[in-house]
Every structure is written in structure tokens, then in C-alpha cells.
Amino acid sequence: MTAHVIDTSGLVVLPEAECRRLLERGGVGRLALQGGSTPVLRPVNFALVDDELLVKTNDGPLWAHAQDGVTASFEIDEVHHDDHTAWSVLVEGRLRPVDEDEVGDDVPLEAWTPTERRHTVALSLESVSGRLMSEVAAARPAGPRSPAPPDADGVDPWGRSERARAVTARLLEPIARRWFRFTVDGLDHLPAEGGALLVANHAGAIPVDASLLMHVIERDRQRPVYALHHHALRTVPGVGTFLARNGGVVGHPDNALRLLRDEQRLVLVFPEGTKGTTKPFRDRYRLARFGRGGFVETAMRAGVPIVPIAVVGTEEAMPTLFRLPVAPGVQWPVTLNALLLGPAGAFVQFPVTIRARVLPPITLEQPPGLDRYPTFRVAEAAERVRATIQAAVDDLRDQRRAAS
């Protein structure tokens, strides 16, 4: 999914998948029928079931039209008066009457009217389209700026060097293949072009998830990945430079926005942060809360989708058994590796199988480029992402258990 498409009226075109997702919510929409001389428009309760919109009615024009199988239109929308944003989805299709028996009891369709509605009518989804209105989206000049080229040494303005990536790839490939037997499924969900925020769960006292994911994505999808890290790592001599040469960038919102919006890059982020890497083993695979969802807000502002990624195995590669308070506010994770291997345990990970699954992208239906996004929407989206990854993590673990 590239940067959003804007039609000739300056409205953002919503992809069909997104329109269907909005229809799935059900609720109230407006049904338009051919009346006598003028069209008839009325609000109705509806539900989306098996690719059809179901509406309840009594004997009357709608029921008659359904028997005749005429065409009709249906619209849902949401309008925000405070910031002049709105979206609208339009469906065109053909009506048909629905048998009583066809409609299951679990269909969430209820009429709000006091009188009972005896019949059910279905509208097929022959054409589905949607638009999003946002002053900011239309005003912004289209097209991302191309990223600044690397200097004569091959180092780009972020500090990344493809030569360094090549060396790292040569070192990581045998480790990924043989030590960790690392596999990723769902790589096709990564867009071939355009920006996307990759969100993954984080684990292991020294997490290998970032390096393995970046390596495989760059190897198999031929697209560079930048990974956001805590600024404290930049203060360590050598480490900061090493991370930068390999595509690491300090996790500042401005940096993320430039990478996503201006350069349309793939950016990998681990919202759990240190909460993920210092988790004791008994809490493994329970994803920590994703903070206030800053990463979501950045993706909204940049107008790019979020691609959730679930990773399983890193918790066992370097498990934290318990934490020792070594200084006020500082807890040192004591790993099984350190207990068994001594000093080598600081960087040798157990050879467990690590699997990752790339999940379908989540498009946030918010207008890009705003200064402020409602906190509840941001938090809700962040929680949705977390839950999606958690479900996939649980599924991967079940598969692992079943296989062993």
C-alpha cells in the first residue's frame, strides 16, 4: 500500500478492503431505492453477512423491490465536525428476499423500530467504494521526497551503509539458518513499495529478533529495513555507530516520520521496548502493554499501514530468570545463559528454533498529517495491534507444541 490515492475532488480513496471492514461493523446506513419520480432514501439497521447486507423490513416497497430483484444503493458514513474529517462508503447491488431459515440466530441484525419487522432483505455487494475527507490530506503535495543519496563512502544520511549490511548478512545467514533455524511466513504481506511500520513483539535479554527479521526481509523482499532503537544505545562507543551502519535509527518520532512519510521506507519497531527484553521467563509471550501508542500515531501521521509481526523463540534463546537490583532503579537481568555459560552467556544464545509470522497490514482509517490525533483512537489502535500479535504468538506456540 503506497501513499494514499487522492481523487479529482481532493478526497482520499479508501481501498475496498478498508470499506468492507467499515461495513462489517454494522449499525445504521442509508438505503436508496428507485421511487416513483424521485429516489427514496431511508435509514435502516443493517448487518454484513457473507458478502451481503441484510436489512429487516415489512410488507412494503422494499419487500416488493426485493421480490423484483431491482438494484439499490446503500451508504454509511461518519462525520467529525470538530476537524472537518469524514468518511463515506457506498455500496451498489441487487436486492433479493431472504428466507426466514437462511438467517441464523447469531446474525447481529435488529431493527430499532418499535414495530416488528417480519421480512429480511439482502443487498449484494456488486460495487463497493469509499472516500475519506480530510483538509490536510488534500492540501499536502503528493509524492514523497526521494531519500538523500549516500556519500562517497557509501554511508547514507542516517548512517546506514549497504556495505556494512552485506558483511552483516554474511555473518547472520549461517546463524539464522543453522543456529536458530529461523523461518518467516507471510512475507508477502509486506508491501513491495511504499512505507509501512512493522511492529513486532520483543523478547530475549539481548534480542536477536531485530537483526534476524531485518536480515530475512532484506534478503527475501529486497527492500531495506530501518529499525528504531532506544537513544541510550547511541551513547555507547562503537555500538551506536555499529547500529547506525546496519540501519538502526534512534526512536524519535521525527525520525520515524521522515523515514515513513518522506522516504516511504519499511521501519521496524518494538513497542514493548525494554519491558519486553527484561521480562522474566514466567511472563514469556505475554505481550507488555504497548505504551500510549506513539508508534500508531506516527503511522497515522505518515499515512502508512501497520504490519504486525509475531516472533516466537526469542524468549527461550536467552531467557531471563530473574532480575537483580544493582543500582537504584536499575535491574540487571540474570539469564540462564549466564548461569550455564558464565561470561560467554552474555552473548551466546541457546540454539532454539525461532519462527516469525508477518500478519496482514492494518490500515488506520485516519487522515494523515494531522498535528493531533484523539488519544482514545490511538490507544485503541495500539491495543488492536497488540492483540493481533498476541493471538498470532499464541497460535505459533500452539503449533510448536503440537509439532514437538
Binding site: 556519500d151 563512502d153 554511508v155 547511541r234 555507547v236 524519535h252
Partner: protein, 323 residues
């Protein structure tokens, strides 16, 4: 812009601005302020701004100065004097604020040093970044001077006030901290760090000031040579050996003055987002890397920084007819 006052004409930046404006088609009267011995090009008149109250206002009034360019640069000369820098800005802003006065444009040159170098900073510093400079540091001095210009803008809507934050200057006589380090026999670096830095050539700085004055720019704008240069690459381009210092040598007690900020810049660098200025139609001609090349040429002796000048009567230009 017809009648222009440029301060600090004895410093490299001020002198470059005066030289550029001396050939400007729109400028009729060019007044360069500096100590008595300052050389100014023909076409510019030298005046020394005394320290008594009302001296600057008198100069502005007599010359019908509509454009004031405060080009004092904290990094000019051997020892930066933050206090004097702030006071000079304050006096000039006060004099320019007279609503009945002739001034319509005020351009202040500031420095990228207002953005402290740090690990948690974004890669490109934007003008709307909140400045939280510790008092006593150079960043604080620049910020305070900017504050006076900002107040000028807020309280006097008839004035177009532009603040230009310039990257470290390179060129004849410039003594900004990072370029100075690159010109030494050996170039210091911090082991394990390779920061990205930016520079701005004096000629481009003068051009930016010219652009701000000509187009009556209002607001804060970053100015730097396009692109960044990595520190070790810069040393290599200049064929200078690099001496690696342990990080502890630079992390010691934070002390005010150029040392602390330069030490942080040697670790984390500093780069500016110049898109705001570019949107107004100005891009520096020499990239940051080209500025490093410019450092190769033998450096000329910087103009000597004079001590506080005695009060001098106004020159004849300001008592010319029409003044």
C-alpha cells in the same frame, strides 16, 4: 530595502554581509557598524555605535535605516563573550523597536548551537524544536539573543523579523569550533563515534542574510550547506590524521563554554532541516562537503577583534542631506 545597517562589520560574517550588500542594486545607504579601525568596502560607511543610551537610535534615525542586520557572531574571535553578545542584541532590538522609527526589517544571525547535540535528538533539527538550554551555556546565550528578536516580532507587527540559525561557518577568518578542529595538525575524534555534521560557507551565509533582508522574511530559519559530512570522512578529505579520544575525556563535568557543546557534537553531530528556508527560495550553493573542501585552502589570519572602542562622533554620511 534602501538604507541598511549591518553590525559587527569587523567580524568575518559581518564583513562578508557588508561586502555582499555593497553591490546590491536596491541598497542606497549601507552603514557598517564596527570599531574605528575596521576596513569597509567603498560604498559602505563605517560608524561606531557608542554605548551611551540612544546612540543606536540616533544612527537609525539619521540614516533612515529601514533594515537592521545584527550579524554579531558569538564564535568570532578567540574567546566567545556570551554576555556581550546578549547585551548587543538587546540594545539593537530596543533601538529598532521604536514605532515612529524608520526600521521595517530586522535580521538576526544566530547559530545552530542553539540545538544542543545529544543522543536523543532527531537526525534533523527543526526550527520548532523546544530549546531547553542550561543557563550559562553558549546555547543559552544564542537563545537569549533570539528571544529579544522574537519579542520584537511579537510586539511590533510592522516589523519583519527574521532569525537565521547558521551552521558552523567556514571561510576566510571564520573561527567556529568544529571547522577550527578540522584545521588543526591532528583532528580529534571520540573513539567509537562518527557523527554527521554540517557547515555553511561565509558567502552562503551572507547570501542567506541578503535573501532574508530582500524578501522581508519573518520567522526562524535554519541555514546550512545541503547534505551532511561524517566527521572522519571530513578529516580524511583534508588528509589530516585523526586522534581518538576516550569517551570519558569528553563526558567529564559539563562546563559552560564552547567545550561542552563541541564535545557533544563530536559524539552525536548536529544537522539542520533547512526545508523552511528552501521553501522561501534560498538554497546554499556550497554543500557541507564542499565546505570541507574549502577548508583545505590555507587559512588567512582572522581580522583582529578590537577591544571596546571609545565613543566616536557620527560620520558625515549620517549628516548628509536627506538624513
Amino acid at each position: 530595502m534602501r538604507n541598511v545597517l549591518v553590525t559587527a562589520a569587523d567580524e568575518p560574517l559581518g564583513a562578508a554581509i557588508v561586502a555582499r550588500l555593497a553591490n546590491h542594486p536596491e541598497v542606497q545607504l549601507l552603514v557598517a557598524a564596527g570599531p574605528p579601525q575596521t576596513r569597509v568596502p567603498g560604498g559602505a560607511e563605517l560608524v561606531t555605535l557608542g554605548s551611551e543610551h540612544g546612540a543606536i537610535a540616533a544612527v537609525l534615525q539619521r540614516g533612515r535605516i529601514d533594515t537592521v542586520i545584527h550579524a554579531r557572531h558569538l564564535f568570532a574571535g578567540p574567546a566567545p563573550d556570551p554576555g556581550a553578545h546578549v547585551i548587543a542584541a538587546m540594545r539593537l532590538a530596543t533601538a529598532a523597536s521604536d514605532r515612529n522609527g524608520p526600521v521595517r526589517r530586522f535580521v538576526l544571525t544566530s547559530s545552530a548551537a542553539v540545538y544542543p547535540a545529544s543522543a536523543r535528538a532527531p537526525r534533523l533539527r527543526r526550527e520548532d524544536e523546544a530549546l531547553g538550554a542550561r543557563s550559562g551555556t553558549l546555547a543559552a546565550a544564542f537563545a537569549e539573543a533570539e528571544g529579544y528578536a522574537r519579542d520584537l516580532a511579537v510586539d511590533h507587527p510592522h516589523l519583519a523579523v527574521a532569525i537565521l540559525r547558521l551552521a558552523d561557518l567556514v571561510g576566510d577568518g571564520a573561527t567556529d569550533p568544529l571547522p577550527t578542529l578540522l584545521r588543526g595538525l591532528v583532528v580529534p575524534a571520540v573513539w567509537g563515534f562518527d557523527p554527521a555534521v554540517q557547515f555553511l560557507h561565509l558567502e552562503d551565509a551572507a547570501a542567506a542574510v541578503d535573501h532574508a533582508a530582500t524578501t522581508s522574511l519573518a520567522g526562524v530559519f535554519n541555514a546550512a550547506g545541503p547534505g551532511v559530512v561524517r566527521w572522519r570522512r571530513a578529516a580524511r578529505l583534508l588528509r589530516r590524521p585523526v586522534v581518538d579520544l576516550p569517551v570519558q575525556a569528553t563526558q567529564a563535568m559539563p562546563f559552560p563554554g564552547p567545550g561542552a557543546d563541541t564535545a557533544a557534537a563530536l559524539r552525536y553531530g548536529r544537522a539542520l532541516d533547512t526545508s523552511a528556508l528552501e521553501a522561501t527560495g534560498f538554497t546554499a550553493a556550497r554543500s557541507s562537503e564542499a565546505c570541507v573542501e574549502a577548508l583545505r585552502r590555507p587559512r588567512s589570519r582572522p581580522a583582529p577583534r578590537s577591544r571596546l572602542a571609545p565613543v566616536v562622533p557620527l560620520r558625515r554620511a549620517l549628516s548628509a542631506p536627506g538624513a
